[in-house]
């Protein structure tokens, strides 16, 4: 009987939380489906085909940096201008602009709330709502802002090379860190 209980609880815990831990370095992203942006600029930036949904590894880039943010998060608000500067630095560098893409996922934010945030801080990169927390739940209900770095391989596979709560120390040091830990620096 004790063994049955132990096995059951272990199985239940795995089913309940197994996919709900924050993504780990070296692992893969959980299955996340995001609606393709209607905005032509965002769609073209991400290099997405005209379908309804996409998965992050389908973004046309070598590296995707994901910020899990919230319109309601004071740190996200404070850091927004510096994250915008990170985008500008990447886009202004011909060597990096097609290799690194930036997206934001608004945990628990509706489309309206994400648009308010985008307008307030003039965010130039695509932001996606996660109205029902479904993505947030998939990635372990992390606090915000949370950053994920994903390297996309030529064969379409991917791996997470960075998974960290906060610690955004500015555009330049963060970009340098991303280039180093993703391996992009060695490839340049």
């Amino acid at each position: 009987m004790v063994a049955t209980v132990a096995i059951f609880l272990a199985l239940f815990h795995y089913l309940a939380f197994g996919s709900n831990m924050p993504p780990v370095k070296g692992g893969e992203l959980p299955e996340i489906k995001i609606t393709v942006p209607q905005n032509a600029t965002d769609k073209s930036y991400l290099g997405l085909e005209s379908s309804r949904f996409f998965k992050i590894p389908q973004i046309k880039a070598r590296v995707v940096i994901i910020e899990i943010f919230s319109m309601y998060c004071p740190y996200c608000q404070k850091e927004a201008p510096e994250i915008n500067r990170l985008y500008s630095i990447i886009e202004g560098n011909p060597d990096l602009k097609d290799k690194i893409k930036l997206i934001g996922i608004g945990a628990g934010n509706s489309y309206f709330e994400v648009e308010v945030y985008k307008k307030k801080y003039n965010v130039p990169f695509p932001l996606f709502p996660d109205d029902d927390f479904s993505i947030h739940k998939c990635i372990g209900e992390v606090r915000t802002p949370y950053f994920l770095g994903v390297k996309i391989n030529d064969d379409g596979t991917h791996r997470i090379f960075y998974s960290q709560l906060g610690k955004f120390k500015g555009a330049e040091p963060f970009l340098e860190l991303m280039l180093q830990v993703s391996g992009l620096k060695l490839e340049r």
Binding site: S70, Y72, P74, Q77, E113, V116, T144
Partner: protein, 200 residues
Amino acid sequence: MKKHGKFIVTLSVISIFLYSTTVFCLSDAFKNNIYNPGSLKPIDSILKVTVGDIAPDFSLPVVLGGRISLDQYRWKKNVVLSFVPAAWTPVCSDQWPGYNIVKDIFDKNDAILLGITVDNIPTLFAWTNQMGKLWFPVLSDFWPHGSVADRYGVLRSDGLSERAIFVIDKKGIIRYIGVNDINKRPRLEILVKELERLEK
């Protein structure tokens, strides 16, 4: 075997109860200082006012000093009262920081926001400091405990207030009441839509 089946079903029910959580997203601005009370009864009070009523006047102390009465905005500003249940709890800590970046929406609709909780001033001072500089006043309905919340009918049986929004026009008439599930943050677009319906 039948007994074993019953046992598994019981275990399942217990497990689901133990593991079910309220989903919220918490800013790292509050670090590990947030107390999670778990999932609470969604609504635990009965409204004492209705849309179309004159909003009951009150005077409460403000965190940054002085007092504010509702009456001082009569004929001057539309007023939004945002009651949140308690300082240092998950959903509440993630509500006002959002309102803090939409002052332009309130201004456009000639409205002032008054944040109210049943906490005392020192607690509210420490908590709101973590949100950065708020543009709107935060009022303490601590003593007599929750008296304003009670007059509006949003004081819960445990002494917390509901997560409630009242939109009051310049004539002092209640135009919208939203008593939200205490465990969930109300959508910003609902409030904005109500503000846009007001006479400017």
